[in-house]
């Protein structure tokens, strides 16, 4: 990029931080969970290992998890910054980060079954650009692993099996069912993203984007905030616990959003993020870069 000659290097550093350095809000939530679980229980030992892993990864600058996931980028930019140039350099940065072992070669051609070796290919990385009226660039990245992606779910209400109707009660039953079906398979305690409504594709995408929210934030919509609190309480009463070993902490957070729907459709989408909610933000202001 002519305007920001170091852009590519900055994105490599952003990926390194995302892969090796878990955000503070997630660490604080895991520490609170460790205090809650009974000493010497399998649940407690899991959380002790998890927190030690966080320290080692940060110190040695090695990936928190070997599955470095789908790299999801959201970029907000002012008028006049070329998204085409940014896309080229983000892709180059992903390949460099793979070479440096911050990322595992994790992109497989679905037809030939060949690993591309550099994490590049159709859909990899996932890029989304949005223009805004601020004179700064905000690059958000999330690494979402396959184990937790596999236990995500989408419901079309009404759902006869669950006796879940087309209202917030139905939504609550559906989300709780998804968490119960996931058991420990998504590397819980999980961070749950929910979208009520939308079409199928937009709904799942919005649910996944909830993982960008800080775990301790408060939903500005009072009704959704109350739904999040109710779901959080009930999810933890399932008793699934860390890794599905049993315990008090089944979810670290539940975050919900809503999108308008057609009168004929009522989707509820659930995105499950493992305990390792890997995300980082990069800001470019006045030619300088900062990672948060």
């Amino acid at each position: 990029m002519k305007r920001y000659p170091k852009f590519r290097d900055w994105v490599v550093e952003l990926l390194r931080r995302a892969s090796t350095d878990l955000p503070e809000d997630v660490v604080a939530s895991l520490e609170a969970a460790r205090e809650r679980e009974e000493a010497r229980s399998p649940a407690h030992s899991v959380l002790v290992s998890i927190l030690r892993n966080v320290e080692i990864a940060r110190e040695k600058s090695t990936p928190l998890c070997q599955d470095t996931g789908t790299n999801v980028f959201l970029v907000y930019h002012p008028l006049g910054v070329s998204t085409r140039e940014m896309a080229v350099e983000i892709r180059e940065a992903v390949a460099i980060a793979t070479e440096k072992s911050y990322l595992r070669p994790n992109s497989v051609d679905s037809v030939t079954d060949k690993n591309t070796g550099d994490n590049l290919g159709p859909g990899h990385p996932y890029l989304h650009f949005e223009e805004w009226d601020r004179d700064e660039i905000w690059v958000r990245v999330m690494l979402k692993g396959g184990g937790c992606e596999n236990v995500g779910a989408q419901y079309s209400l009404p759902d006869a099996r669950l006796s879940a109707g087309r209202d917030l009660k139905g939504v609550e039953v559906a989300v709780l069912d998804a968490i119960n079906q996931a058991q420990g398979k998504g590397c819980g305690p999980g961070v749950i993203g929910v979208c009520i409504g939308g079409d199928r594709a937009a709904s799942l995408s919005a649910a996944k984007q909830q993982h960008f929210r800080k775990l301790d934030d408060l939903n500005p919509d009072a009704e959704l905030a109350a739904l999040e609190a109710r779901l959080m309480d009930k999810a933890n009463r399932l008793g699934i616990g860390p890794m599905g070993f049993g315990g008090k902490t089944t979810t670290l957070a539940v975050k919900a959003t809503a999108a308008n729907r057609l009168p004929a459709s009522f989707f509820v989408s659930v995105s499950y993020m493992c305990w390792e909610c890997r995300r980082r933000d990069m800001w470019i202001r006045n030619g300088e870069m900062a990672i948060e």
């Binding site: 030690r52 990936p63 470095t68 072992s101 890794m243």
Partner: protein
């Protein structure tokens, strides 16, 4: 904490019960999707193609009374060509469910380390052949890589790709929890039953509330 040294006897494995914390030391082998398919097609079903004989001579002694780790690591190679594990946590085990039972019985494997648990066929094989399923902490890849003290060999790296290859590694004090034992108990089965009962109660509360 139960200390396990590899190779391990059936008698030692039979002592383990669901919920036991263990620490494993010795030589084990990683294997995931491509490796399990290869083992079943060429060894369990056979006949073994003659060109696979040299690898068979290595794998049989490693797997007998040994352990398999479901893991696709991030690795690096130093200037002398030696491999190192950078990040090496467990991968989802259930994908190997069609293969695991036959592999345990055919090779005399005593333990399978992974995450997320496995199904009825593997549980039955654990009981029949005296083996256990051990759950490592999913996502704890840097911590677990630190317990892998040496990479001794790698097989099928070209054919399967680095994450899918057989990595022969020496581990020291590798931590895991027994979640399926050789007596027919599975924590995963029990947990699904308990949490599903809790779910039904909570769902009722929501519907009525």
């Amino acid at each position: 904490m139960n200390k396990i040294e590899l190779p391990v006897s059936a008698a030692e494995i039979a002592k383990l019960r669901v919920g036991d914390l263990v620490s494993i030391s010795g030589v084990l082998v990683t294997a995931r999707d491509a490796a399990h398919k290869y083992l079943v097609e060429n060894y369990v079903r056979g006949p073994l193609p003659p060109e696979e004989k040299p690898l068979a001579d290595k794998l049989y002694p490693l797997l007998k009374d040994g352990m398999i780790y479901h893991c696709g690591p991030v690795v690096s190679q130093d200037e002398k060509g030696k491999w190192h594990m950078v990040a090496a946590g467990p991968t989802t085990s259930t994908r190997e469910e069609p293969y695991q039972g036959p592999v345990i019985e055919h090779f005399g494997v005593r333990g399978v380390i992974g995450k997320g648990g496995m199904g009825e066929k593997t549980l039955a094989a654990c009981q029949k052949a005296t083996a256990v399923y051990l759950h490592a902490v999913g996502g704890a890849a840097s911590l677990l890589a630190a317990h892998i003290v040496e990479v001794l060999d790698v097989y099928k790296a070209e054919a399967f790709g680095l994450p899918e290859a057989f990595w022969v590694v020496r581990v020291d004090g590798f931590p895991a929890v027994v979640t399926m034992d050789s007596h027919g108990r599975s924590l995963h089965k029990d947990m699904l039953a308990t949490s599903s009962a809790a779910f039904e109660k909570l769902a009722d509360e929501i519907r009525r509330g």
